[in-house]
Structure formats: structure tokens, C-alpha cells
Amino acid sequence: MTELAEHVAAVGRPLKRKEDARLLTGKTQWTDNIQLAGALHMAILRSPMGHAKITKLDVSGALKYPGVEAAYGADELGDLNGSVPCVWPVTDDMVAPDFPALAKGEVRHMGDCVALVLAGTAAQAADALEGIVVEYSALPAVIDMEEAIKDGSPLVHSDKGTNKCYTYKLQPQGDGAYEAAKAKADVVVKRRFVNQRLIPAFMEPRAVVASPMGTSGELTIWSATQVPHVLRVLLALVTGVSENKLRVVAPDVGGGFGGKLQCYREEILCVALANKLGRPIKWNETRSEDMMATHHGRDQLQDIEIAATKDGKLLGLKVDLIANMGAYLQIITPGIPLLGMFMYPAIYKMDAYDFSCIGVFTNTTPTDAYRGAGRPEATYAIERIMDELAHELGMEPMELRKKNWIKHEEFPYTTAAGLTYDSGNYEAATDKAMALFKYDELRAEQVKRRASGDKVQLGIGISTFTEMCGLAPSRTLGALKYVAGGWEHCTIRVLPTGKVELVTGTSPHGQGHETAWSQIASDTLGIPVDDIEVIHGDTRTSPYGMDTYGSRSLAVGGQAILRAGEKVVEKARLIAAHQLECSANDLEFDNGVFRVKGDPSKEKAIQAVAFEAFSAHDLPDGLEPTLQAESTVDPQDFSYPHGTHLCAMEVDTETGKSTIRSYVCVDDIGIQINPLIVEGQVHGGLAQGIAQALYEGAVYDSDGQLLTASFADYLVPSAPDLPSFVTDHTITPSTTNPLGTKGVGEAGAIASTPAVINAIVDALRPYGVNDVPMPALPMTVWRTLNAARQGGK
């Protein structure tokens, strides 16, 4: 037997990540590093047009280029040209146009796939694209959502006769309830917020390798994906390759932010071609391709109206969205606004809530999940309008929030949207954040600067956000017409030498789950963290799973780990009791050791039990050999992390430049498994949320040209652009899962955007400014300020 290290309680410790060494040095296997003998490299010719008929397509010229083995347009591809699936038909009458992998006669957004070349090297394939002859006849494009739903608008899909994808309504208190609430109101504030289009911009561009393996007809797909399990099901359905012959592997994946929660055209093409040709097919994208063909996020017009009494009590909220689907529907495109639908009432109590959303097709890249997926949009709108309402009422914005939020003793609380929040303590998080921020001192400085007419004004932005993590109870998903479930699976095997294999159906892509999962299993089993190996991201080694998105990996996946671990311990207890000749009830289990109550000299370590279970020489009658267990957990409910984010902003009124002076956040994500990973997630999320507020925005011209198709034009901030964050936490355990955890993947990205914009608006309030469009570029702020100044005169 190997020497066994002693177990030390792991949960709650800021352990450095197990995966750091290989991820930070790059000494690992990314999809594009996979080299298979005989592979053909795929290059894709993409539409430079926003909307056009393909009047001529001749791929034969590409065949004359060195190394080229095949070239395909939609005609040549025939039945292999599968369609991208959408698994969330949100209404029975939703318009769902066909989305073929290669365009059939018409391109509908810049970046639409027109033809492809297969060649011996990636360079040969790229060169040969120049040999393809394609002629387009421009069709009128429609980019603006409101134009798209007007009569007579150019149609993205002429056969559908409309650009409307669906209309969705939610009136939890019934039709007319909001109007009744509004009738009692002293103050009604209405705003149009534009939640602009964003590009996920993960670090590792998409990449796929698909290859026949062995002689059994098995096809293995390596893909830079967040969702190997979901992808396997969808690729089987789309390509017709039998699901049990498909193996999907997500090797180390360099970020996703929802952008790799997809079944992409390129994945379908690689699989279909590898299956047809019997050769490995490899593809990876350039950054420019990524920016026009990876799904985009956000892009909603938000009409929001809030009604309140004159002393600031909220009565009702009405939200009417127009949401941009892009040119086609992808995996959960239509459902993204509905994930936000539940979150508009946020942490506030009110009598009535009324929601509607129109999904619209335009000649733009399809939208889908992007860090927060609907919740950031909702949080932005409600947190912005709370500030506007406070201004109308002449109230301090934090006081207005305090007056209306759910008090900590009122949980569980069912909101006007119909969700039941598990737990929370908004008071505690806010008190802590305001103290760290020195809220009162900053308000005093703001008064001084306003009085002196300082060219640099100070603004304070508040965001007391909550969100919904842990996707999702399967029944709830069913009620929303989402076709899959929301459970998660784990298998734990204690090997004969006492080492552990933890097999999870979640699919980490850079977050640090291997470390956090080991911590949970370590405490459950009493086995050191370093003795636990997390196995994930391969449908052969982890057959069941729903993958990683929506902060579900801990809130749902963590429960499966805990339950599987408990089952292992229960089985080990039976074996230990048998061998120590006592009743199972007479055993205590502590730090990995079973001891007989009242006779602690009689003990057996769980690792020793594992060996006994392996040798199986002396097991209790009827007990199966080996020490392993599995668990599939369907969560009881969502979890609702929350937090108070405060931003102090200096706005140069001469140039319009906004500079964050300080940023404080206190997040309550329930029990923290690894505070260091939590902090990292918060920092990254803040950077992304601040990016939406100040830097990023995908822009199309009226012909559908994506003007921000490179990092030169699509501005992703880097470390020097961001302040030093002050992050802290309160801990209010979730009451709907046994770990008490909630989720932290999106918190920073959801909370920070409104905090930043509220801060800019607050700085400029004395000039009459009551909104600033995002991204709040210096020019945008300067123009807004000029318009307000002129309006005031």
C-alpha cells in the first residue's frame, strides 16, 4: 500500500488551482494541437454580404490549387448539408427558419457559410478559397429591429412572410393587473434602454477535429465546446450518425462565456465530412471569422415602465422587449430573453409585473447565450430605472432600494415574476459594501465638486443585483418548452490504492472546477484533494451530463458529487462494519476513518476499505465488490446569489471620458467552496460587465457589414483599463441544495454594467443628463452632455 496523506478539511480554503500549471504554461491539449495522420483541413468561404442571392457558385477552381482534395457548395454537399438545431421553441407558433450549414442560394448575414475547401494543410485550404467563383446579387438588408417588424420591411426569410420570430407574454398577476397597479401610482417612470450587441471574444477561437476511429464505425469529435454531451445528442440528430457511435471530447477549452454553448455549422460540417470521407477533418477559425460567425449576445431594446407611490413604494413593473435573434435561430436563441424575463422584478417587492417580448430576425449574426444570458439585460434595465425613479421621487437611490427590497427575514419569497427566492441578506451585503466604499465620504465629495463646478465630476453608481443560477429543475425547463432536462451526473470510484476518480458530466472550460470538485469530494470521502482526479469532457469517460453554463456546475453538479460521495461512504461503512465486527450504526466516520463508537482503537481508513472492496475476499453477504457509486441529481430549484456593487466614476466633462476611481462589490453566493476561484470569477465578470458599459459593442452598417470584425474595432478592455477591484462577500447559504452553494459564474458581469452607467449618469445629473447609451464611449458621453446642456437652455 502507498503511504496515505492525511485529509484536511478542504471546502472553504483558497487552494491554488490544480489546472493552473498546464493551462498557464499552455502545456496541454487544445483542440487545435491535435494532429491526426491523414487529416484534411477545412477552410470556409464566408459571405461578405449582409443579405444577397448567390447567383453563381463554382467551387471547381479551388480543386486546381495545390493540396486540395475536395471543395463543396450546398449543391455538392447535398444531404450532408445538415441544419443547425434550435432546441427551445418558446411558443407553439414560433417561426423557425431552416439554418443550413452551407447557405442554399441566399446568404443572410455577413459570415454566413457559402462554400468550403478540404486540403492537406490549413494554408493550402486558405489559399484555395481564392479559386472559388461566387457572384452575389444584393438583397435589401434589415438591421434595425424596429424597422424589421414594420410592414413592408425587407424580409430576412422571404418564405416566412414576416421578420417576427415570436411574441411571448407573461402576466403572473393576470391581464390588467399592471394597469390596475399603475392607476394607484403617484409616479410612473418610463425609459427605453438599448442593451447593445456584444461578441463573446473568448480567448481560444473555435476549433474542431472529427475523425473515424478504429473499425467499429465510431466517430470521435474533439471540439472547443462547453457542451460535449449536448453536442453529441444534437450531432447525432443532425448528421444521422448513430449516437452510440459518436464520441465527443472537449479537451482543455480556452473560455466560452456561453459562446461555446452551441451546435455550430462548422461542427456539423466536420462530422458529416469525416463520416463520408472516412478521414479526419480539422478546422479552426481565425479571429475575424470568430467575430462574425460565433454567436453574439444581448441586443435587446428594452421599454421599461415602473410605477410607485410618492413615498417610493413600488407598485408595478412593465417590460416590453424587442430581442434580436439575428438571421437564424441557434441552440437556445429564442429563449435568452425569457431567461431574463424572470429577473426584471429583481430583489424588489411589487404588486404586479407585466412582460412581453417580440423576437425579431435581422441580417445579423445569430444571437444566443453570453455570460448571464438574459439576466444581465434584465438587471441592467431594472437597476437603471430604479435610479431614474429615485431621481424622480427626489430620493437617495439606495434608500429607494432599501424601502422595496425583500427583507432577509422574508425568505423564501415568491416574486412578482413567480420565482421563489431561496435566501438572501441584501441588508448585510449593502452595509458591508457601503462601509468599504466609504459611501458617505464620496457623496460629500460629490457635493463639493458640483458646487465648485469642477471639470471632473464624480458619480456614484449602485447595483443591488440578484440572479438565477443552477440551471435547472427539469420540470421547470419542460414548462418553458425547453426540450432537455437540467439534471447532472457524477460517478465516484475509490480505486484499490485509495486514489479517487471523480467523473462529472459538467464540462469545465477554464474556471477551475477540477480543484473545486476535488475539494467537495475530499471532504465527503475524507481523502486528500491531491488524491482526487476529476475526469470530464469526454462522452466515453463521462457518459451522462448536461455540461457547463448558467452557473450550474456547482449548484447542480456539486450536488451530484456530494450525493455520489455519500453513497460511497455508505457502502464503505457496510464493509468497515463487517470487518470491524460491529453494526454499521456503531461506526463514526471522520476525516476518512471509520471508528467504532466507544472503542476508537478499532478503526479502518476508507482507503483500506477500498482495497477490501477490490480484493473482495471478505465482504458482507450480498454486497457487490468495488467501492464506487453514482448519482444523478435533478435540482429542487434555482439558487439566487445577490450582491451590492458600488462604482465611483470620474467623468471629464471636457472630453467625456469616464474613469472608474473605485469599485467595491460584496457578493453573496452562499457557501464558497474555493474563495480564490470565486474572486477570480468575480474579477473576470466585472471586467466583462464594465466592458459592456464602457467599451464593447458590435456595430453593423445598414447593409449588414459588421464594422467591428476585429479587435482593432471591437474594443475589449485589458488590465490597464480597469481599476483595482475591492471584492468581499457575505454568506447566506442556499436552502435548496445541501451544499448551500449558489453560483458565481455570471455575478460580476451581471451586476457591474448598471453600476457603471448609473455612476456616469449620477455624475452628470446636474447637467440634466438622465441616460447614457452603451458603450459610454467618451464621444457618446460628450454628445449626451452637450445635448442635455442645450436642452436645459
Binding site: 490549413a122 486558405a126 489559399d127 481565425t286 478592455p717 490597464p720 464611449l777 467618451p778 460628450w782
Partner: protein, 285 residues
């Protein structure tokens, strides 16, 4: 992305480099640090047949003090320039502006001469050398010639360096006593190009500005001098209000363009604001 096919040569001397350029014909291009050229190649916006790599030619590297001027080899990296004692002491404006170029990785690879010969109107260094009246030494098949900063920048991405010529070095006159300098850069992100940049050198004697030289970044197809502000500043007291008033003509003679981050009107506004700030800073006002 993968660039189109090209040949690559690495000459050891300026003469060899000139010969290689000539042999390569019209589609040959000089490369040093590659920080502008490589992105163009990767996006296939440029497809040269031959790249002549001048990064290791000794004559094109190094910085020397000529007494009343400083000569900087064109292949000196930005990092070499901004950390050089001669530059820091005698051409501080250049050191300060170079410190704002892109990020540390780019500053370690990119070269001083490459950035100038590239002729990008959004680059920071052209406005500096224009403000400081630098002289450029260009080598070609017919020998060497000297070009003044005023004549060096011709149009967008076009300089006086011909297709078969190489920029060898740049000589910048030292400023004497009483001069102060400042580079005021305005950009959307720390690593981004300037929306507008202002390079100012100001001489103050007895509380009055006696001479001002102001170069503007990204305000026309080439770096330009804010001549009317320079004239307006002559003789005014080095106070913030007088400088601000003199800076109101900063956009005169410029031809600003519009893009996603800044349109013409906003750029012109920034020229006025930033010129006042740069001059005030240079004058210690």
C-alpha cells in the same frame, strides 16, 4: 490567419538591403519589428513577394549624441528608445510619447523607424518628430539623401521612402534651455491608437511663452503642426486661461476623419482641449 506565400531575406548591411529590395521588385517590403506588417500579412491586406528583414543591420541600430542633436537608428526598438539615457535627457518628448505606444510586447518588438516609415496618421511618433523638426536619412540605389520631417510624411501610410529605399536613421535637434515638453494622448483604451494626440514643446522665458511647437496625431492624413496655435502662443503668459484661449484654433488646417470612436466634430473638439492641456503641461502652467 495564414499569410500568402512570400520570400524572406535578412541582409547584414544597408547596401545589401537596398540590393535585396531592388531585386525583389515592386512587391518587396521592408520588415523590422513586424508589429504593423504582420497584422497586414495575416489579414492578407498586404501580399508582398519578398520581405527584407532589416532588424539586425548594425548601422540601423543604436542611439548617439551628436552634441546639438541625437541620431536614432531606425531599427532601434521602442523599448531601446524610451529607456535610453540620451533620449530621456535630451529628447524627453520622444521618450514620453514612445512610452504610450501600444503595450510592452509591442514596444519590445516594434521599431522607431518602422513606426515612422509605416506612415500611420494614428501613430504617436510622427507628431513628435514633426514637432521637433527631425531629419530623416534614407538610403537607396542612388545613395543617401536627407529629408526633413515636413517632407517625410506624404499621405496615409505613404512617406518619402521609395519602394526601393530604406529609412536608416532619424536625427532630432536638441531643445535648449527653457523648453518644456508634453505628449497628451487621448484613446479609448490603454493599448489603443490615439483618437487625438498632441506633442507640445514650449519655451518659456520670464513667464511668457516665446516659442511653441505643436504636432498633432491623427488629425489629418499626415501628422500636422498646429501652426496657428503656435503663432497665437507667442508672447502670451504661461497661464492656463491664456493658453486655453490660444488653443482654440488647434483644429485650423487639420482634416480629421470620422470613425466609430470619434467623428470629425469630436476630434476637432479634442484637438482644442488636448492642445491646451499639452501646452499647459509643457509650460508648467
Amino acid at each position: 490567419m495564414i499569410p500568402s506565400k512570400f520570400d524572406y531575406v535578412r541582409p547584414n548591411s544597408v547596401d545589401e538591403a537596398v540590393a535585396a529590395l531592388k531585386a525583389g521588385g515592386e512587391d518587396s517590403k521592408v520588415i523590422t519589428g513586424g508589429q504593423s506588417m504582420l497584422p497586414l500579412l495575416r489579414l492578407r491586406l498586404a501580399a508582398p513577394s519578398v520581405l527584407v528583414d532589416c532588424a539586425r543591420i548594425d548601422e540601423m541600430k543604436g542611439i548617439k549624441d551628436n552634441g546639438d542633436s541625437v541620431t536614432i537608428g531606425a531599427a532601434s526598438t521602442h523599448w531601446d528608445v524610451l529607456n535610453n539615457e540620451i533620449v530621456k535627457t535630451h529628447v524627453k518628448l520622444l521618450a514620453d510619447a514612445t512610452a504610450t505606444v501600444a503595450d510592452p510586447q509591442v514596444r519590445h518588438r516594434g521599431t522607431f523607424g518602422g513606426a515612422l516609415a509605416h506612415g500611420d496618421p494614428a501613430g504617436d511618433l510622427p507628431a513628435v518628430v514633426v514637432a521637433l523638426d527631425a531629419t530623416f536619412e534614407i538610403a537607396g540605389a542612388k545613395g543617401r539623401r536627407q529629408v526633413t520631417a515636413k517632407d517625410f510624411f506624404v499621405d496615409y501610410f505613404t512617406t518619402a521612402v521609395g519602394p526601393d529605399e530604406i529609412l536608416v536613421s532619424v536625427t532630432i535637434p536638441k531643445l535648449g534651455k527653457g523648453w518644456g515638453t508634453c505628449y497628451e494622448k487621448f484613446n479609448r483604451s490603454a493599448n489603443g491608437w490615439a483618437i487625438v494626440g498632441v506633442a507640445a514643446a514650449v519655451k518659456v522665458e520670464g513667464g511668457k511663452i516665446t516659442e511653441a511647437r505643436i504636432g498633432l496625431t491623427n488629425c489629418a492624413s499626415v501628422p500636422v503642426r498646429a501652426s496657428s496655435v503656435e503663432s497665437a502662443l507667442k508672447g502670451v503668459s504661461a497661464s492656463a486661461t491664456e493658453i486655453e484661449s490660444a488653443s482654440q484654433s488647434a483644429a485650423d488646417g487639420t482634416r480629421a476623419t470620422s470613425d466609430l470612436g470619434a467623428d470629425k466634430e469630436y476630434r476637432e473638439h479634442l484637438m482644442r482641449v488636448l492642445t491646451a492641456r499639452a501646452v499647459s503641461c509643457a509650460a508648467g502652467a
